[in-house]
């Protein structure tokens, strides 16, 4: 199975109202601990794992994920180490790497994507690579069967949305709010509209992320038609606050999975 096929398969077989997609920061608090956190996510019901590559200048991230990335780097995380995390987790679930553009382009898009594909990962999200800058990375991902997953924001114009929906692979990642990653008390004002617009633009599954932190949010997203929910900051915070990061993250993911259970 290619990465693209593996992602499609995961969305088709969640057994839940929507696919549960935990985000974890590679190498946070340490490389070994982040493998444990990822495995706890899988046990607790994760369908797809989004794995963050720590970066010096993460422009799309709020303070919690920014600080986790900084700590991971200080603890020695590097590309090889984070790709090892991907390799381990990809044995259980599809892994999508979230990595900023400069790190993808530093060795060359083709070289980076080839290395990523060899770990068994299924896809790539580059939060600062809008459609117009994407052709080189898209070509490399397509050549290796990986999904280059695009982001769609509440501010994305209809023309852009149509073009993004058409070239997307794997799924479309809709951003629920105008803003950076971070927990919020409620989902963004227009999240249902963002999901509906994205669904109208593509045949692919549509996942909602940024700001989802409770089982209630996850359920609301699924009810609005999201095929997947991405939970990031809430889990990174749980990892940072506990002596037992894997246990703490696993518990939160378990609650989210229960929230997304199909009523019988």
């Amino acid at each position: 199975m290619t990465g693209v096929e593996r992602i499609a398969d995961a969305f088709a077989n969640t057994g839940k109202q929507a696919a549960l997609m935990p985000y974890l920061m590679g190498g946070y608090p340490t490389l070994a601990a982040s493998i444990g956190i990822g495995q706890a996510c899988v046990t607790a019901g994760a369908d797809i794992i989004e794995l963050g590559m720590p970066y010096s200048d993460p422009l799309a991230d709020g303070p919690v994920i920014h600080a986790a990335g900084t700590e991971a780097l200080a603890a020695g995380a590097n590309v090889a180490g984070v790709l090892e995390v991907a390799r381990t987790l990809a044995q259980s679930v599809p892994v999508v790497l979230m990595c900023y553009a400069n790190m993808v382009l530093a060795p060359g898009a083709e070289a980076f994507v080839e290395r990523l594909a060899k770990t068994g990962a299924s896809g790539l999200i580059v939060p600062d690579l809008p459609l117009g800058e994407a052709p080189e990375v898209l070509a490399a991902c397509t050549a290796h069967g990986l999904a280059l997953v695009p982001l769609v924001a509440p501010t994305t114009t209809p023309e852009r949305l149509a073009a993004i929906g058409k070239s997307a692979k794997g799924f479309v990642y809709t951003v629920s709010v105008v803003g950076t990653t971070g927990e919020r008390n409620a989902l963004g004002e227009h999240f249902a509209q963002v999901v509906a617009r994205a669904k109208a633009s593509t045949e692919l599954p549509v996942a909602l992320g940024f700001g989802i932190s409770t089982p209630e949010h996850a359920r609301q997203a699924a009810q609005a038609g999201a095929d997947g929910v991405i939970v990031g900051t809430r889990l990174v915070r749980a990892a940072g606050e506990s002596e037992d990061p894997a246990g703490a993250v696993g518990a939160v993911v378990g609650e989210l999975a229960t929230g997304l259970a199909i009523a019988r």
């Binding site: 200048d57 799309a60 553009a101 400069n102 809008p130 800058e133 501010t155 114009t157 993004i164 803003g179």
Partner: protein, 389 residues
């Protein structure tokens, strides 16, 4: 073809979160309309003249010229209101923001000069102003923090990373991602995603246009060399722009050599070369490690303490049209002091880099240096006792 350049050869582009893409397109449209609108141009020119004090003089530095054995002319941006060239850009962008219906302005600042210029125009135009500044810079450029606050701006200290200009810029971009619908980001140099490098260059071009006419008037010929310091590169590109077609005129950009370009502690990505990278939304010369992590720059001058440079500079370097060199902290401080005693002008530490390179040349016929700003803000940093090494 874009009406406003998005790319400069392989450099430039728009490497930003999707959330900002619509705002960048709207900014570009607004800019294209404004620059062709006589009412925008008249208001900008009127304010640059009556509020800012333009045109700034082109001054033949008497004792400097005598010492060098050749005429050295200084384009006196230090006499611009608020004490640097930064006002040219801040005024133009704030007027543009008002046309776009945006009343909240954010900016990043290193030396504090761009922050002060932005706070000043926000006071003038009655707009809300938030300035991001690294905590290392709030310390070493204290007078400018006080000025911004007096002018009614809110200065947000940024404590991440090296606590300098790179982190302040990242924080400003994150604010923009969050508040893009109400807010215009007045970027302070020819960096950032398109259309910023082109807009800021066009707004700073007034420096070069004036200087070229002035030197022709007093000397009847073009300079042999045009010299400017490069942080992000706005005073340099603004000066160079008017001379690009004059092929006989050498264009020299002076970067921060810090503790030496053979050490990692400098801010000279154009001079050092190395792999191309992406920083703050555009592709250009960037200080980075093997894996693409952006490195921390170092310079005694907060305005040059930045690991990137504008994309058009990278193109001018590659084509050979401009040349980039570096001057160390110690050389800049020496030039700062020498300038004060020789000419009665205290330059900004940023500018002192351009002066240091110029003073070190033994050859040449006619030099024109962009005196990008005044150095009152730098007294504490230059006069502090040197720590024992």
């Amino acid at each position: 073809m874009n009406v406003v350049e998005h790319r400069f050869g392989p450099y430039g582009g728009q490497f930003v979160p999707e959330t900002l893409m619509r705002a960048l397109a709207e900014l570009e449209q607004a800019w294209v309309k404004a620059r062709e609108d006589p009412s925008y141009r008249e208001e900008l020119e009127g304010l640059l003249r009556d509020f800012g004090g333009r045109p700034t003089p082109l001054y033949k530095a008497r004792r400097l010229s005598e010492k060098a054995g050749r005429p050295i002319y200084l384009k006196r941006e230090d006499l611009n209101h608020t004490g640097s060239h930064k006002l040219n850009n801040a005024l133009g962008q704030a007027l543009l923001a008002r046309r776009m219906g945006k009343r909240r302005i954010i900016a990043e600042t290193g030396a504090g000069q761009h922050g002060v210029a932005t706070a000043t125009v926000c006071a003038l135009l009655d707009m809300e102003c938030v300035v991001y500044m690294g905590t290392e810079d709030t310390r070493r450029q204290r007078p400018n923090v006080q000025r911004m606050e007096l002018l009614g701006a809110s200065v947000k200290p940024v404590d991440a990373g090296a606590k300098t200009l790179k982190e302040a810029t990242s924080a400003a971009i994150r604010d923009w991602v969050t508040n893009v619908e109400s807010t215009h980001y007045v970027i302070g140099s020819v960096v950032g995603p398109a259309p910023y490098p082109a807009i800021v260059r066009d707004l700073q071009r007034v420096i070069g246009d004036e200087a070229r006419a002035q030197i022709l008037e007093v000397q009847g010929r073009l300079p042999e060399r045009v010299i400017a310091c490069v942080g992000g590169g706005s005073n340099a590109i603004g000066t160079f722009a008017a001379f690009l077609e004059d092929e006989q005129v050498q264009l020299i950009g002076v970067e921060a050599g810090g503790e030496g370009i053979d050490t990692p502690r400098h801010g000279a990505p154009l001079t050092v070369g190395g792999r191309v990278g992406i920083l703050h939304g555009s592709r250009s010369a960037v200080m980075q490690d093997e894996e693409g992590q952006i490195l921390q720059a170092h310079s005694v001058s907060a305005g040059l303490d930045y690991p990137g440079a504008g994309p058009q500079h990278a193109q001018l370097r590659d084509s050979g049209r401009a040349r980039y060199v570096a001057v160390t902290d110690l050389e800049a401080i020496a030039a700062f002091k020498e300038m004060a005693r020789l000419e009665g002008i205290i330059p900004a530490l940023e500018t002192a880099h351009a002066l240091a390179w110029t003073l070190a040349q033994v050859d040449g016929g006619l030099d024109l240096v962009c005196l990008s700003g005044r150095g009152d803000k730098d007294l504490a940093e230059v006069l502090k006792p040197t720590p024992d090494k």
